[in-house]
């Protein structure tokens, strides 16, 4: 157990009639970047807020480094740094004042000017919070979550509102923070982020953990490890392609045929085409993305009644 950073067992939380979290259990190792992935309203934020001790679970048990986040409030606040979703600061506080103030809360804070530098805030220190752009506020919020040198960092929607350049910088910073042994709990619905950053990912939907795996494992298990696509002028027997073992989906996309399936599928597709006497042009074989895996997993694990409203909130590819 020494190696466990966060342990959550059978967490449940309802808001009135609505059950936000329904039996979530998670174990996060120390030094791990652990992603919590799922559509809006899946219960991700409620889950991490219970882990952080900001919400009281209806039932279940949480331990962070062996401590109860509600009973050991004082210690937990020194152990856990949180970047909350949609949390603003005093409108007229400058970025520099906020960093200085937050540093004063902790025994051994990170030197904040360095942190500001890393997050591209160095030129904004004299600007009041209300005049910062959404992305700048977000970066300041990340800085405040990390300034107390937390052992566990909980980051909710880390890169929402950041441009691609800033996003890369934030990801680098998170990797850097992890190298010092910090555990990172990342709430996200950006597949790219989960794939590029996380060691393991928990897929949460309808308030339940559907699957926990490495990003690669998730992609493999979703049966769309590879995406084979090609153009052709001749008629293709689509049924024959669908009957290839390991094929998950065959569809037309623009002028191209797309076959999703496991690792063996590309070669089998080629031999199938050859036997049909079809010459594929501009053949491409791509690695299946977490995006595809995510949608497949959501579709296969979701409660059919509750599924469609969630899916519409995510942009497909």
């Amino acid at each position: 157990m020494k190696n466990t950073a966060v342990e959550a067992q059978h967490l449940r939380k309802s808001y009135g009639e609505a059950r936000a979290v329904d039996d979530v259990s998670l174990t996060v190792d120390r030094g791990e970047i652990f992603g919590i992935l799922g559509p809006n309203g899946a219960g991700k934020t409620t889950t991490v807020e219970m882990i952080a001790g900001l919400r009281t679970p209806d039932s279940g048990r949480v331990r962070v480094h062996g401590l109860d986040p509600l009973a050991d409030r004082e210690r937990i606040t020194r152990l856990v740094g949180i970047q909350l979703q949609e949390s603003r600061l005093q409108p007229k506080i400058t970025a520099g004042e906020a960093l200085r103030l937050w540093s004063a809360f902790y025994d051994d804070p990170e030197p904040w000017p360095e942190l500001a530098e890393r997050l591209g805030l160095a030129d904004l220190l004299d600007q009041q919070f209300r005049t910062l752009s959404g992305g700048q506020q977000q970066r300041l919020s990340i800085a405040l979550a990390l300034v107390g040198r937390p052992r566990v960092a909980i980051l909710d929607e880390l890169t929402t509102g950041l441009d691609p350049q800033a996003r890369r910088e934030v990801w680098d910073l998170i990797r850097h923070v992890r190298e010092r042994g910090v555990t990172v709990l990342l709430v996200t619905h950006a597949m790219e982020e989960a794939q590029g950053l996380c060691d393991r990912v928990a897929l949460i939907n309808d308030g339940q953990v559907k699957v926990v795996d490495t990003p690669d494992g998730l992609i493999r298990s979703a049966a769309a490890a590879t995406v084979t696509s090609f153009a052709t002028t001749s008629a293709v027997d689509l049924e024959a392609l669908r009957e290839i073992p390991g094929v998950h989906e065959v569809r037309r996309d623009g002028g191209r045929l797309v076959v999703e399936g496991n690792d063996d599928v590309p070669l089998l597709v080629l031999s199938c085409l050859e036997s049909q006497g079809v010459a594929p042009r501009t053949l491409r074989v791509q690695e299946g993305s977490l995006d595809t895996a995510y949608l497949t997993l959501l579709a296969t694990t979701a409660d059919p009644a509750a599924r469609s409203p969630h899916l519409t909130q995510e942009t497909v590819r």
Partner: protein, 259 residues
């Protein structure tokens, strides 16, 4: 973990609280509107009233005081309710709505400390305003300084506590800053009347005066006025103010929501 676990060397609470005080003080000085209404508006009002010649004449009906004299404690109360009912609830609720209080809950600092600091800053500004009013009253309009300082200070502190607990209760029961602004304004205009801004309590008659004396600001006004004249405030007035303060504080503690 048990209570026997030795506590780690935590950062001294004092340092963090001081940092909040420093930061909030800076932020407070950026709120020029609030500063104007608490610090300058009452003295401007006093000066305008004092510009009317008949208001400066001592009158035997008013116990040998002039109308302006009566308005010195009244404008002191005005700055109190301005701070307690108008600016403080909106600041605190804006913090709550922005998630500042929630954010502070994730740090080793208790979010209550920012509320205490806000009250302190508002109270200090009121004190500054009061000194300004007493000085202007004395130097410009010849208003007698309080004869009984202990009585005056006692009544003053009680009035401060009563108006701040009224403001705190409004903050606590309001679900949003907008509703707090409405409730605050209602309480503000009501308290302006009972504090005697439109008509000094001492100039009210009979039944009206007896009713007003049962309100927190009405009783505070009587107590301050009595202390200015050298008498100790009446125990009944002090009791009225203290009771209101206690009840309203309980209400605010009971109903305040951090998020």
């Amino acid at each position: 973990m048990t209570a026997h676990t030795p506590t780690a060397p935590f950062a001294p609470k004092g340092r963090a609280t001081l940092a909040i005080l420093r930061a909030e003080t800076r932020l407070f000085t950026r709120e020029l509107g609030a500063l104007f209404y608490i610090l300058l508006f009452p003295v401007v009002l006093l000066s305008i009233l004092g510009a009317i010649p008949s208001f400066r004449e001592d009158s035997p009906d008013l116990g040998g005081l002039s109308v302006v004299d009566l308005y010195v404690p009244v404008t002191i109360l005005l700055s109190m309710i301005m701070a307690a009912l108008m600016t403080m609830p909106s600041t605190v609720l804006a913090y709550r709505e922005a998630g500042v209080l929630r954010r502070l809950r994730t740090t080793p600092i208790r979010p209550a400390s920012i509320l205490v600091v806000q009250m302190l800053l508002h109270a200090l500004t009121v004190a500054g305003s009061s000194l300004l009013l007493l000085t202007v009253g004395r130097l410009v309009f010849g208003t007698p300084l309080p004869e009984s300082w202990p009585g005056y200070l006692g009544a003053y502190v009680l009035a401060l506590v009563a108006s701040f607990s009224l403001g705190a209760a409004i903050t606590a029961v309001s679900p949003s800053a907008r509703i707090a602004a409405v409730l605050g304004s209602l309480a503000f205009f009501g308290s302006m009347f009972t504090a005697g801004v439109y008509l000094p309590v001492q100039a009210m008659d009979g039944l009206l005066r007896r009713i007003v004396e049962l309100t927190p600001l009405g009783a505070a006004s009587e107590a301050l006025n009595a202390a200015m004249l050298g008498a100790l405030p009446e125990v009944r007035d002090l009791l009225v103010v203290a009771t209101w303060a206690a009840v309203l504080s309980l209400v605010s503690v009971r109903f305040f929501r951090w998020e």
